[in-house]
């Protein structure tokens, strides 16, 4: 079965379908509903036997490159930190098909936002390359 990463972003991606303020500015009950939904998604994936991994990333990002012989690594926060994509976390799933991955991504995107209405968040779906030769 193919594995997919469903990537959530702090920023970047297509124009937001529904622009919302940061979560710390939502009504407390909306924050609770949102977090409860995300817990429910993990449980659902586990029950379905589709769960592989889920992780969240902190928003701090450092770009690093080799500095050359005998030189320290070169680091930067990025040329345009406010406009580039910034990944917030992922679900890794093991599913029957690409269609199922898209279906689950859309379900994640229906997570409740302010007012309990869906967030319509863009989710990036990426297939994970397998290691060995393919069956076909």
């Amino acid at each position: 079965m193919p594995k997919y990463l469903l990537l959530k972003h702090y920023r970047g991606g297509p124009e937001p379908h529904r622009p919302v303020p940061p979560m710390d500015q939502w009504a407390p009950e909306d924050v609770e509903a949102h977090m409860a939904f995300l817990r429910h998604v993990s449980e659902l994936l586990e029950e379905n036997g589709e769960y592989v991994d889920a992780q969240a990333l902190t928003p701090t990002r450092t770009w690093v490159r080799y500095g050359g012989p005998d030189a320290a690594p070169v680091t930067t926060d990025g040329p345009l930190p406010e406009t580039s994509d910034l990944v917030a976390g992922w679900y890794m799933i093991d599913v029957e098909s690409h269609e199922r991955a898209v279906e689950l991504a859309a379900y994640v995107s229906s997570e409740p936002g302010p007012g309990g209405k869906p967030l319509y968040e863009w989710i990036a779906v990426r297939e994970v390359m397998s290691e060995g030769p393919s069956d076909g």
Partner: protein, 396 residues
């Protein structure tokens, strides 16, 4: 069965066996015990493990000897045992917490060689693949090869390793392996081997914090802060033991030897545990202990900022939120980027009634958090502070 591990392993190492090989042989003996004991329980389990591990060691050496004949002679004359150290556990802890090892290796080796956990269990507890943990352990053992393991080690390093194990279990999500319980078990064994008051201080500190663990998360896994915890869920038996252990440590203090940091932190934990309701918390006493804690370090702002930050909270409760905030200002340069600094300031702003400032500080803290449960908790507090502020505005 795991309780037998330190004794058997220490016996093999003292006899002159190589630590690395002895540890591997004992792991194999434990695997065999799991298979054999249910149907054929041994009369003397410890002797059984020692015999099987020894047989494994001889087998390993024989196959090696087949390749290098000359080594047979070396085996015939086992090295003289190193100096006798009073207790097996202490002896092994000094081996595993060798100062040349990195903290992650000290922790892994301690859990396997002293705690008797399998590599799989340790890997699960720290969320790394089993092969990664196996590699970490074998590298650690290899770097111990050729080191003299006959010098008494540094108890302070052992205590730090046990506290790392405890914290991994206390703050991490629930795993199949109870790391916090394991750290307490090892510290309890260590108190039997040495009279060092700080060993009791650490045991007391862990017991007094562990007692509150059942109240720390709600059924949905959300963090519940100390002031909102259901104190009926606290383990009173564990608190009583912690207080008893702490008292026995404090009774050993002298003019020249004031209580060390674990005893002081345990005293602070005991005062929190002592309050039947949060309003009864004896903040002046807590502040007095924090004064002792920061006095243990030269330039505490730079060398023990966590203690200064904890003290700022106590100052806020005793002398007022503004005084507490002034204390946190001293840490801005050292801790200003850390989420805990912002979280404490959020709490102090809330205490002073400045809800907009509290919301900003909690939101900043949430952005810096490195733990999902803590991040979610801080987002909630920011949202709650903001909502309370809006509610106040609309009612005026």
């Amino acid at each position: 069965m795991r309780a037998l591990v330190p004794g058997v392993l220490a016996g093999l190492v003292r006899r002159g066996e190589d630590f690395d090989a002895a540890e591997d042989a004992l792991q194999e003996a434990l695997m065999e015990a799991l298979r054999v004991w249910p149907e054929h329980p041994p009369r003397d389990p410890r002797a059984w493990l020692a015999t099987v591990a020894t047989r494994r060691l001889i087998d390993a050496r024989r196959s090696e000897a087949a390749r290098h004949r000359r080594e047979e002679a070396t085996y015939a004359e086992p090295r003289q045992a190193a100096i006798e150290v009073g207790d097996d556990t202490l002896f092994l802890l000094f081996c595993c917490c060798h100062p040349d090892l990195a903290p992650a290796s000290q922790v892994a080796l301690t859990l396997r060689a002293v705690g008797g956990l399998t590599t799989r269990e340790i890997a699960d507890a720290f969320y790394v693949p089993e092969a990664t943990m196996a590699q970490r352990i074998s590298r650690a053992k290899r770097s111990l090869q050729g080191r003299r393991l006959d010098q008494p080690g540094d108890v302070a390093v052992v205590l730090r390793v046990l506290y790392l194990v405890y914290m991994a279990g206390h703050t991490g999500p629930a795993t199949r392996v109870d790391l916090a319980g394991e750290a307490i078990r090892l510290a309890r064994q260590l108190t039997l081997a040495t009279d060092e008051p700080e060993v009791r201080g650490l045991l007391a500190l862990m017991l007094l914090n562990h007692a509150r663990l059942p109240a720390r998360l709600d059924p949905e896994g959300r963090i519940v802060t100390l002031d909102r915890q259901d104190r009926g869920l606290w383990d009173t038996r564990e608190i009583a033991e912690g207080v008893r252990v702490l008292q026995s440590a404090l009774s050993m203090q002298t003019e020249e030897r004031p209580p060390g940091r674990y005893q002081v932190e345990a005293a602070i934990a005991a005062l929190h545990d002592d309050a039947a309701v949060t309003e009864e918390t004896d903040w002046p006493q807590i502040l007095a202990w924090y004064d002792d804690l920061v006095a243990l370090t030269d330039d505490p702002v730079r060398h023990d900022p966590a203690a200064v930050l904890g003290r700022a909270v106590a100052v806020g409760h005793v002398l007022g939120a503004a005084a507490g905030l002034r204390e946190t200002n001293r840490l801005r340069e050292v801790l200003g980027e850390r989420h805990r600094w912002h979280a404490v300031r959020g709490h102090l702003h809330e205490l002073s009634g400045d809800l907009p400032a509290a919301a900003v500080a909690y939101a900043e803290a949430a952005r810096g958090a490195t733990n999902v449960a803590e991040r979610d908790h801080l987002v909630r507090r920011a949202a709650r502070a903001r909502a309370a502020e809006l509610h106040e505005q609309s009612s005026h």
